[in-house]
């Protein structure tokens, strides 16, 4: 009697499982931080991803099936991504995993996806190590040094031949950008007239700036983070340095304009996406995003959107959802027209794409142009 109850219960459970696992939906896992320290990044990227999945399903899905997004919040806590991705793979049987923005979290999840042969696409982790984990791990944003190359090309296009570089020695990010900038700039006829350094947390940059000023540069490349860049800009202007400062996406931060103020007018930096870009694809995306969420999409939202788009396109080309086939299809992504530029994946599973240059005028950030390396 008792046994037959258990048997029935087991049958019932098995039936339930089979129904959920039916051939209807293709399951896609996503993890991001909706709460905690990096919540603002996670919320944006999740909104972008969810919008893309809705649109793909609205247009009939892929391979005649709908995509089902299974989302988990990692609460910005270390340790969570590993737990979540294990659950997504073993319980939810997802075909692929999308996430995370923060490189440290992607690095936690990547080995698990690699082990289980489930492709993982990070929308915005820029640390080179992320995709080095293995051949199932991809990213659709550019990596740090790439921005240096882009800014070198931009500086040359502005007609600047003599540039000084001011690097933050405590940040790999800053050093990587500076190296790539110097290489790209000098290889194409530019001259780096002076290099100076500072450390994260410094407040006084007058000594470095005085020495840079003496080399009479036409622009200064400052690939640091916003907290120091704002002070550097102010002190540069006080010392009578009138040339433009150039930088990367580390400039984007709340207090940049608050502290830097007018000193930053006429400066340029590179980033992933601009809602002001007049390209029709971007404007369409901005309109749809606004209609759904009532706010303008930022870099992370656009990258989240593209990560889901690339996955859907790869599933179509693969014609299947099993790990190895899907992996090969994602790796073969060429010339995908996303909202953050035309994306191709290289042999190291990193994105080759364009970057957006923005400028600051009267305390606001504005789109300038898109640069392809």
């Amino acid at each position: 009697m008792f046994n037959s109850h258990i048997f029935r219960l087991a049958l019932f459970l098995a039936a339930g499982c089979c129904a959920a696992l039916g051939e209807e939906d293709i399951r896609v896992g996503e993890f991001a931080s909706l709460t905690g320290g990096s919540a603002s990044f996670g919320q944006s990227s999740h909104k972008g991803t969810a919008l893309a999945i809705d649109e793909i399903n609205g247009a009939g899905g892929v391979l005649g099936r709908k995509l089902k997004l299974i989302f988990e919040d990692d609460q910005s806590l270390p340790g969570q991504p590993a737990t979540i991705v294990r659950k997504l793979i073993s319980q939810d049987k997802v075909a692929a995993v999308l996430g995370e923005v923060a490189s440290s979290k992607s690095l936690e999840a990547a080995p698990i996806c690699q082990e289980n042969h489930i492709p993982m696409i990070s929308p915005a982790s820029t640390n080179p190590k992320v995709t080095e984990v293995g051949d199932y791990v991809f990213r659709i944003c550019f990596i740090d040094p790439f921005q240096g190359t882009v800014m070198a090309k931009f500086a040359l296009s502005k007609g600047w031949k003599k540039i000084a570089v001011l690097t933050d020695v405590k940040q790999d990010y800053s050093m990587g950008l500076a190296d790539a900038f110097v290489k790209g700039f000098t290889a194409n006829g530019g001259q780096v007239v002076k290099e100076q350094k500072y450390s994260t947390g410094d407040k006084d940059f007058k000594a470095q700036l005085t020495s840079l000023k003496a080399s009479k540069p036409e622009a200064i490349f400052v690939p640091g983070y916003y907290a120091e860049v704002a002070l550097i800009a102010r002190q540069a202007r006080q010392l009578g340095i009138k040339v433009a400062l150039l930088g990367g996406d580390g400039w984007v931060g709340d207090s940049l304009l608050e502290v830097g103020g007018k000193a930053l007018d006429g400066c340029f930096y590179s980033c992933h996406f601009s809602a002001e870009d007049k390209a029709p694809a971007v404007q369409n995306f901005v309109a749809r995003y606004k209609a759904k969420y009532g706010s303008e999409p930022d870099d992370m939202a656009a990258l989240g959107y593209d990560s889901a788009g690339i996955l859907a396109e790869a599933i179509k080309r693969a014609g299947a959802t099993d790990g190895p086939k899907l992996r090969d299809a994602i790796a073969a992504t060429k010339g995908y027209a996303g909202v953050t530029g035309t994306i191709s994946l290289d042999a190291h599973r990193n994105a080759e794409k364009s970057a957006v240059i923005e400028t600051i005028t009267n305390g606001a950030m504005h789109f300038v142009e898109t640069v392809t390396p």
Partner: protein
């Protein structure tokens, strides 16, 4: 040559800040013979006092930055810091006065860590850097082109201000110490605290007064730095405090002109190292100077050697 002169100007204006803070270290050492390691944090509190008082002072003057508004902010921060300094001494150091000097020293480190960590709480100041309000239009002063190559030099309003205010406060301080009854009492306590109390000096009062005076100078330094570098955070006093301590030792701890000389020297050395050697070695060289001074001239540049009486 112009670059060197410019670095010298940068160095002196940075050194003036170190000097103000070093004065506080040196005064406290003078009367109590111990190093108040929480002094750098009092400086930080001064900057945050300015953050709160700044917008209010500006509102009084129709939102226009100006010298009177800045003076009000400066006085407010100095008052707040004086109070904080007196309270710290009363609560943390006074109960330990008869204990070994080491206990007080460790307590000072504890007080410093306590202030830093409490202030990082988001209900107090929060851990993130905050923008300091513009209370003075900090612009470069035009040097007439008739000065030839010197016209390339840049001096900003805030640099002049820092040097002027530091010099003014130093004058005021020497007046207080050398020409008032309180100052005489301070010197008496410093010379021999037992004898001074026998002579009717209220030692507790004098020590509180010294803490208040030294802390108010740190508060002034907090405002002056924030005018130049308008981004402040609860940990801004750690490294600056340590360097000011080095400055005080370099000049001869317990010696007022020595603290100023030490501050200026450290500022100039630091700027020159960054400008001509490598920014990476900046702090290494500053603290290297401390080691050299302790080896070759333990009493500092202007300090008098004291022989232990047996």
């Amino acid at each position: 040559m112009i670059e060197f002169l410019q670095q010298l100007i940068n160095g002196v204006s940075l050194g003036a800040i170190y000097a103000l803070i070093a004065l506080g270290y040196t005064m406290v050492f003078g009367v109590l013979r111990f190093i108040n390691f929480a002094h750098g944090d009092v400086y930080m509190i001064g900057a945050f006092a300015g953050l709160y008082a700044g917008p209010k002072a500006l509102r009084l003057f129709g939102g226009q930055p100006g010298y009177i508004a800045a003076l009000l902010v400066l006085l407010f921060a100095m008052t707040v810091c004086a109070a904080v300094g007196i309270v710290i001494e009363f609560l943390c150091y006074r109960p330990l006065r008869s204990r070994p000097k080491l206990s007080v020293l460790i307590t000072a480190i504890g007080v410093s860590l306590f202030i830093e960590n409490v202030c990082q709480d988001s209900h107090v100041f929060g851990p993130n850097p905050q923008a300091f309000p513009t209370i003075i239009n900090d612009t470069a002063i035009e040097i007439p082109s008739s000065w030839g190559t010197f016209a390339d030099l840049t001096v900003t309003t805030s640099q002049i201000l820092v040097i002027v205010v530091t010099a003014g406060l130093l004058l005021l301080l020497t007046q207080i110490v050398l020409h008032t009854k309180l100052g005489m009492a301070m010197r008496a306590v410093s010379f021999n605290s037992v004898a001074s109390s026998l002579m009717g000096v209220n030692n507790d009062l004098i020590i509180s007064f010294t803490f208040g005076l030294g802390s108010s100078l740190a508060g002034a330094a907090g405002i002056l730095t924030s005018i130049q570098q308008p981004s402040i955070d609860p940990l801004m006093g750690i490294l600056l405090g340590l360097k000011a301590f080095v400055a005080a030792v370099l000049g001869g701890i317990g010696n007022l002109p020595g603290a100023v000389l030490g501050g200026l020297l450290i500022g100039v050395i630091e700027t020159m190292v960054v400008g001509y050697v490598s920014p990476t070695y900046r702090d290494a060289i500053v603290f290297g100077v401390l080691i050299l001074i302790l080896i070759f001239k333990p009493s500092g540049l202007l300090g008098r050697g004291q022989r232990e009486k047996v």
